[in-house]
Symmetry: C2
Subunit: 216 residues, 2 copies
């Protein structure tokens, strides 16, 4: 089954899905959607017919008239987990899986939406220092992630294998540095980040290694 990922190199939700695809060893076509150029390619009519919310990522399954589509990073990853269960990104135990999803949502609904470009543009227009806002959201959110993960962490956020929680954490730590957030109090998370950085799937999914990333 042909898989096509419409996404953007620096988008953290795109990055999460790339980690999952590489972790499971699934080949996919990479279609860049530039979020900034010409007001954002994700707002073009041909993209909106595929994803009315006008955001990335979007996974297309198959080709032609029977193409199936899934948007929203965690919905895509759950589908990948159901249809390509090995190697897993969720523990089998329902409670541990819930702890993974809890951590994933701290990032997915609790941090990332608060520093998306629409919110930051509005704040900048209102002469609020949008970088201070973004830093504050990220620092508070990642501290909560770290405290919550302390109950379950082994080598990774929950146990000793990478999970969806780590797939959410890694891109968020990149955004933290991008906005100048203080990551010094996040020692436990930085250890997990270092372990993820050793894994080929996390390496292949890294923002700066994508075809639409600007040359260094």
């Amino acid at each position: 089954m042909k898989l096509t990922l419409l996404n953007y190199w620096r988008s953290s939700s795109s990055w999460r899905v790339r980690i999952a695809l590489h972790h499971k060893g699934l080949a996919f076509d990479y279609v860049p959607v530039h979020l900034v150029k010409d007001g954002g390619e994700q707002k073009r009519p041909d993209y909106l017919t595929r994803n009315p919310q006008g955001v990335v990522p979007l996974l297309e399954i198959g080709e032609g008239a029977s193409t199936l589509r899934i948007a929203q990073s965690l919905a895509i990853i759950e589908w990948l987990e159901a249809t390509s269960p090995a190697p897993p990104l969720l523990p089998r135990d329902p409670y541990l899986a819930a702890r993974v999803r809890w951590l994933a949502e701290i990032v997915n609904s609790g941090i990332q939406p608060l520093h998306n470009s629409g919110v930051l543009r509005l704040l900048a227009d209102a002469e609020v220092d949008e970088k201070v806002w973004a830093r504050d959201c990220i620092e508070r959110g990642l501290l909560a992630f770290q405290t919550t993960a302390a109950e379950t962490a082994g080598r990774f956020s929950v146990g000793d294998s990478p999970t969806v929680a780590d797939a959410c954490l890694i891109p968020q730590l990149y955004q933290a540095r991008r906005f100048g957030a203080d990551v010094a109090p996040l020692g436990r998370l930085l250890e997990i980040e270092a372990r993820c950085a050793e894994l080929p799937a996390f390496q292949a999914a890294h923002a700066e290694r994508q075809p639409d990333a600007p040359a260094p």
Copy 2:
């Protein structure tokens, strides 16, 4: 197994979990956490030790030292689905389940975080009209929900049975009206809302029927 839901009557993420609990016929203790009084009971140290993110809802499973805890509405609902699968809130087919999760995330990460009280307070402080902002986020988000659901909807958002997508939709429509959003273009969603309103689980979970709701 004793279940305790720490939550707030008007919180849409609390409301989603109440729908799931009632749908599955699970008894639970209702513990109100007042989000406004005295700066918010969710910011008190005893609550933060249970949920470091300082948000509701929080589900406690069991009692005493061995109590298990899950926060984040969709993580809680996925746990309920795994441990009490009947009656379901997710289709068995992985693609239809993905469509449900996609819709749920349009609300959970795409709408609700943008009009949470922290964001609105910041905007008000910056003399941005926070109600216009909230209305705009809600109207755009729910239109995207409706267009996305058009491919899958039957009597409910995906197919002919209520799902997690509907459990997210119903509280969001309540918030839409609360902020004065224009729901007239959402005809298909209002039909689904009317069908949900006939179901005992959705009736029992309604914000205004909770013990901590103010008297009418």
